[in-house]
């Protein structure tokens, strides 16, 4: 892998992680933007699926450490989502804004589905509402932000000219 690509990817990842802990609490609201999911997805499409799984696992473990319950839930969810994202990217994905938005939307939604189903913290009557209303809304908002980031800083967050995929 090109060292410049590594630096770009790492910078983008760190920026998004920092945004997750600084910008997200500032914005608040009932439908939060998941910057960490964006960071994991954007990083996952740059690396092999195995490395993506490790990135997802470590990111999820960080989130789990500040959660009150379900230590390991986010780690498992992010592992699955990151591996799937990297694998899908290697198989299908082109550097297209619409597809990227769909990719982020599905990635975030998949994370929420896995998380909610594993942790079971949502009351029974609210599971469907959470998975069919709030999670898609949050996923859509996250996808919009992901596309906006790609438009604003494509060299940092884009995947074109990434070494492994060009070979």
């Amino acid at each position: 892998m090109n060292p410049w690509n590594v630096v770009r990817g790492l910078a983008g990842f760190l920026v998004l992680v920092a945004a997750h802990f600084s910008l997200r609490p500032l914005l608040g609201g009932p439908v939060p933007i998941d910057f960490l999911c964006l960071a994991v997805l954007f990083a996952a499409v740059r690396v092999r699926p195995g490395a993506a799984a490790v990135i997802g696992f470590l990111s999820g473990l960080g989130i789990d450490s500040v959660a009150l319950q379900g230590f390991g839930t986010s780690a498992l969810a992010f592992t699955i989502v990151a591996f799937g994202a990297s694998w899908l990217k290697a198989v299908f994905f082109a550097d297209n804004l619409g597809l990227t938005a769909l990719f982020v939307f599905l990635g975030k939604w998949a994370f929420d589905v896995v998380y909610v189903l594993i942790i079971g913290g949502v009351p029974d009557g609210q599971v469907l509402v959470q998975l069919l209303l709030w999670s898609p809304l949050a996923a859509a908002l996250t996808a919009v932000v992901g596309v906006a980031l790609l438009l604003l800083a494509r060299p940092v967050f884009g995947t074109r000219r990434t070494a492994p995929h060009r070979r």
Binding site: L23, R48, V66, F71
Partner: protein, 362 residues
């Protein structure tokens, strides 16, 4: 291009890493809290420490923004309350005048709250918080310090329903305050804002009333005693009747603004209420008394303040005099002016001071 073996080993490595991460996640999931919590604590205190600090600061900023929003909401509420202050002042004024009315009536009446039922068909009725338990029955006159409101139509032990002068069934025998003209006052049954005016019908043609003439109840009939203010003449209404005049009246009372009313019991009706509304000198005796009381309190405060100022000035002058007696040959002592200086009051009718003799500038 990588060989098939290399790709196969990479794929196996990916799968292995995925399985390892999943297994570790599941282990973390099934770990008891007493084992998982120390690991979470280590992560929080090392890798995540700076990020959590930033998160805390962001949440503080967010809280400040939210608190400011709450502050703005509170300010808005305060402004709204300030906006209602005139309404409170008006209500206070009405209650003071009600006190004056109670003082003039002396006995034979009940003071009660008036409620305005919300309903399309109830625009011309009010609910009164007094009923037959205190002697209020049908046909009891309802009045305020300003004049006639209407009469009780139905009465329960604790509540009554009264029709106001705007009700189509309302009618009262009336006369001008100087007793020069008599007629019947009925609501002005037209559409639009004029619906809330009254008509004085059947006034003999020879009796002409000027605009602003006070119309009071005449006491004819058994319901309303003589002398309750009803309204003032606005103008004459042209009608087809050739032998009588009809006048448009401005009502003395606006029922929509009522909060308290006075119900005249039969003993009071029988005793009459003459001079209660028409005697200007006694009209606002209670209100005047209250105002006078507040004025006297303000006067006392002003006198006390004036006395304090004089004391300060006197003390300053005494100390200056004492200093000059102790050191008569020394430099003149500096006398500080009193901290509180009396304001210079100029009567409005006082002519301005002129330093130039008259005629110089002209």
């Amino acid at each position: 291009m990588p060989s098939r073996n290399a790709r196969g080993s990479s794929s196996r490595l990916d799968t292995g890493l995925l399985l390892a991460c999943c297994v570790l996640s599941v282990i973390a999931l099934v770990l008891p809290d007493r084992m998982g919590e120390p690991m979470a604590t280590i992560i929080r205190r090392t890798v995540l420490a700076p990020l959590l600090t930033v998160q805390g600061q962001s949440e503080t900023v967010r809280s400040a923004i939210t608190a400011r929003d709450d502050d703005l909401v509170l300010r808005g509420a305060a402004a709204a309350q300030a906006a209602t202050a005139p309404a409170l002042a008006a209500e206070n004024d009405a209650l003071r005048r009600m006190l004056g009315l109670a003082g003039r009536l002396r006995d034979g009446f009940v003071v009660a709250e008036a409620f305005h039922p919300a309903g399309l068909t109830d625009d011309f009725t009010i609910t009164i918080g007094a009923g037959s338990a205190v002697g209020v029955h049908a046909f009891t006159p309802v009045v305020t310090a300003d004049g006639l409101v209407g009469m009780v139509e139905t009465s329960d032990p604790a509540r009554s329903v009264a029709i106001t002068w705007a009700h189509p069934d309302f009618g009262v025998s009336a006369m001008s305050a100087d007793e020069s003209a008599f007629g019947i006052v009925k609501p002005h049954l037209v559409s639009g804002p004029e619906r809330y005016l009254l008509e004085l019908r059947g006034v003999p043609f020879r009796a002409s009333l000027d605009s602003g003439t006070l119309i009071v109840s005449s006491g004819l009939g058994a319901t309303y005693p003589r002398g309750i203010s009803i309204g003032t003449v606005i103008s004459e209404i042209p009608t087809t009747e050739r032998w009588a005049r009809t006048y448009l009246l401005k009502p003395s009372v606006l029922p929509s603004t009522l909060s308290a009313v006075v119900l005249l019991l039969p003993s009071r009706v029988a005793g009459g209420v003459s001079q209660v509304w028409t005697d200007v000198a006694s009209a606002d005796s209670a209100a005047l008394a209250i105002v006078a009381a507040s004025d006297s309190a303000a006067k006392v405060a002003a006198l006390e303040e004036l006395a304090a100022r004089r004391a300060v000035m006197r003390a300053a002058a005494d100390s200056a005099r004492a200093d000059s007696m102790i050191a008569p040959l020394g430099p003149a002592p500096t006398v500080q002016p009193p901290l509180i200086t009396p304001p210079i009051r100029v009567r409005p009718d006082t002519p301005p001071l002129r330093t130039v003799p008259p005629g110089v500038l002209e």
